[in-house]
Symmetry: D2
Subunit: 339 residues, 4 copies
């Protein structure tokens, strides 16, 4: 961490700062320029809050050099992490297609979709039992009944399942769920993250609508710091001024996260764009950019599609897409190795 | 709600849609143009999810005419709501200055600040016991001990208190708290909102970093729909590309929210800008734009400011500001009445 | 266009509005609901400014149904446009890799890079003679001398060239340039667009940092409306809150623009990310998402790289990338035909 | 400027960098930490492009300490600049209300509005002769005829006038205009800025929709660097995700710009919000936050309002507003002096 002092800083206040830093086992390297004096902080600065330093009267600015995340940091964990979801590996050379409906609606629906996506190449089943909705008047999911149906579909198809948790108090209902999803709106629900850090299951952590990649990694760190290091990161679109898509899918997040962290990175092009027609090209784009998997919404029957979002594709479209994705992953993976 | 059909839409699918709408007691008004056919939906459309309609193959676009919020909507509640916080009214002609430290650090600190801000004109005390922090390695607040000290400061000064809740499971600890704050990161933690909707206390609901005003009102609706109609809205800055401030304080949210809703609106210029020097001008701007109050961070002792953020002002600055704000509110309130 | 009237609108003002619309040969279709009255405007509404209508006292809201662009609109031009740049076709089945240095620095430099990128598969040469720089104190390009060197490189290698114009008054210097680039900052420099609409050369139009896709198409329309229909659209990153990349490359702009318009769409991953290491994965992502080409910065000699940006890759990296891109385009093109 | 080197940097490349910096009269202060080596650059670094340095293989990051703007920088010009527009001073203790129609439509209209706003307290007249419009099919202004009418209104009322230039080639038509406006879309039209830097008139420079405050100051620097130091900065709203307003007016830009620069700062709440009802509260907010003036759209006759935008208020509303603004400026100015 570098601290830039103001011109004509108060010497006594500098001594106070140095004493406080020393009490945290941080050594200060002093460098005096013509206009500015710079302190280089040597030691483990991850527990030093830059905002606190910046608040001091004598400080002009503060700059971190070390990333504030440790467990998620590739610098301390050079190899790609491979995380198993109900026996299915994600990360490293392992690419997976996760698919299923937006919401679980009925036994018939979830079983039919589960069978269709399995046949079309999906290796993990997704589906919403608890649905975060902007309006309290919108359908909130089948909840416990939805989880029950999801587990039934798992039993019938053998696919591991991933579904979203909305509150730590629901955790006991997720015992047989293979991977627990933290939705974008809960990415900084720190109490939930800490609870999931004490669970022995992989966590699918979605990036918040207005969160930076560093904040996403810090949220992963919340989970990992409690002991659960099985975190899969998910880019699902950020909020921008553009109105033609629901969100702007940040594909560049994929290669950047893969560089900064050893954790697997998957992409959700369905929520990321909000438009079914964009799901295939964006799933392909994310894969060729290095994603370890995609999360795709598939609906069963367009004739009864009233409860499916505009972001879902049909099983037929999904089958074609699925084959292309596996081929593109091979290309991307070889490129990665070439470097 | 208006539904615009695609050219050459399938008649059978239209019949399906109409039947489904009728089952929800919504009547369809049909209007055929040269290129487009438009359906006007008449009835209570608040339970119709526009995204579901938009997903249909025959639909080009959907447009809401009625706002999806009801209990928070000024159309159905013309008068300003006045909400009492431990006996102190906010809203209508009642303007309040809420002040206190970012974090509660010690008995000495919180009591000293509480007395200082009371003397300087604050009518409600704020202070963080549970602190949402981006990094798990940063100070997370004194938690229960912090709440205890906050209540002590309340006892000594007689000021009602407001403090943030981070998880529904902590609720029993907030029994003597006068107003519970929902932080920006939890604005769409719907389970928490529903829990707070069953509490008999005012709720201070902060706007999320990337949430629209409509989404803020929908989150208020979550609380109100469970029975608790005592919600105070708070603008605290949104995320933009500008890096000179931590957030961009959206002052225009104040007059807009006041027009759309009867709920009181307050502004937090400390988090909204992240810079102490901007707190006075922005508190003044928000007040003259019609805010019913401000929420200001004040720290006690700059010499020991290591644990105060760069966004806190001193009690002396606060005293000057406080008087100006009350004067500006009078100007703004008279203008409102003039209209 | 749909106009939604306020409840209890003034009948006389509605008559005024209808008379004004009739004077523009627009017929009004009237539809009365319980709470709202809706006008459907039938006719060519591209000359009706929605903001003017929205300003009327009796109007609650206005919604366009037809897109306001005509010449760029795929609805009126179903086939992909193929645009020739110095004989090299872009669009339809034709994919091109455009490469070259950020700035032209010397004869030696531009000729060396031109030869290197040609050998590595580039089919068009790019290079900046006039450089838009945020600071007046930064290097502004070699200007006329730069253009001269660019033409020399063209002569030696036979590659057509594209370079940026910064002011309409420089136009006579661009006579032998094969394609003229309009930079992101000039996307809404409407006088420049109109001037280029009267030129007999392809125009490479870059999306502005905060411009919607519809605005980009409207800027294309400015050029096309003056007679020059040879416009190539270029996505080059938009401004968001994320700071890990210089801009956020909006890959979804590619399939969306291809659907809305018949014009070729290319992508600039160098400016779009600002980081050389992201250029290969993002060029690949854009290509597989359907781009008709990419625009890549390549620098010659890392040992003298002082005047190259952090967004340039080496000729060796470019060679590997170039082959992959052509392969990916084949995959994307076949997928497009399959649909 | 601080340069942070990568671990295990190449010594030879560091020597190259140091030699290059010395050739620019910049001295290098060397500071070696445990993990990082830091170079402090001492001298005039305004001509050193941080991106060039950051591009070097041995460099991890670069941080500016000095602001890159000099002529606009308050550090080198402590006193507020007072700029006279046709004899009317702006800046320092001088606050002005600039008002007029969005577009000039006819002699009758501009003269009527000019007289009305003068009576209501406006001291400078604004009006658009050249109108930048997103669509080539929208009304583009009366152009030369509009300028003629504007000058007529000036002659009749005695008010100085400000109007927008869209291309440097139109400059000779602006000879009798008192202040030339650069619109938001042209804020980084550097050729236009340089041309206006050689003009002997005040320039009203509007912030671009997605430009930072530093970029705004750099654009002012382009004008000032050519010799014309009479620049007035104007905040007029930035683009964000919020859709309830056309733009988000960044009120905090006012106190920040006043701190960073000595130039006067005015605010345009009409374009900044796009809603007439928000103009009074936001004009008041901007003024109390320290603005040196406001730019307000006023339309004459709501009965013929078809060519006025939704952002214009009536002369009656303007009269009330105008008095309040002058009062609020007094409050803000006193506060400034108190500090």
């Amino acid at each position: 961490m570098i601290v830039i002092l103001k011109e004509n800083y108060d010497k006594r206040q500098l001594e106070d700062l140095k004493a406080w830093l020393h009490s945290k086992n941080i050594h200060v390297h002093f460098s005096e320029g013509m206009h500015h004096t710079i302190l280089g902080l040597v030691g483990d600065t991850s527990s030093v809050d830059p905002d606190l330093i910046r608040a001091l009267e004598i400080v002009e600015d503060v700059k971190r050099i070390q990333e504030p995340y440790k467990k998620a940091n590739r610098k301390f964990h050079g190899e790609d992490s491979v995380i198993h979801v109900g026996g299915v590996p994600i990360g490293g050379r392992h690419y997976q297609v996760i698919a299923g409906p937006c919401s679980i609606e009925s036994e018939e629906q979830i079983v039919a979709i589960a069978q269709a996506v399995k046949e079309a190449g999906a290796t993990i089943l997704r589906g919403g039992a608890y649905k975060p909705r902007t309006s309290p008047y919108d359908f909130q999911g089948l909840k416990e009944e939805g989880l029950r149906l999801m587990l039934l579909a798992k039993e019938i198809t053998g696919l591991p399942i991933v579904t979203e948790i909305m509150d730590a108090s629901h955790l006991m209902l997720f015992e047989e769920v293979d991977m627990i999803q933290v939705g974008a709106r809960n990415m900084q629900n720190f109490e939930l993250l800490k609870t999931l850090g004490r669970v022995d299951k992989p966590i699918l952590l979605k990036r918040g609508l207005a969160n930076t990649l560093q904040e996403l990694l810090m949220s992963a760190e919340y989970i990992m710091n409690e002991g659960n290091e099985r975190v899969i990161l998910c880019e699902r679109g950020i909020r921008t001024f553009e109105t033609a898509t629901r969100n702007t899918l940040d594909v560049s997040a994929v290669p950047l996260l893969k560089e900064l962290s050893h954790l697997p990175v998957i992409v959700d092009p369905s929520h990321g764009t909000g438009l079914a027609k964009l799901v295939p090209p964006m799933a392909m784009a994310a894969t060729v950019a290095g994603a370890d998997g995609v999360l795709v919404e598939v609906h069963n029957d367009p004739a009864h599609a009233l409860c499916d979002g505009p972001q879902s594709i049909t099983p037929e479209e999904f089958q074609v897409l699925s084959n292309q994705l596996v081929h593109l992953h091979t290309i991307a993976f070889k490129r990665g190795k070439f470097r």
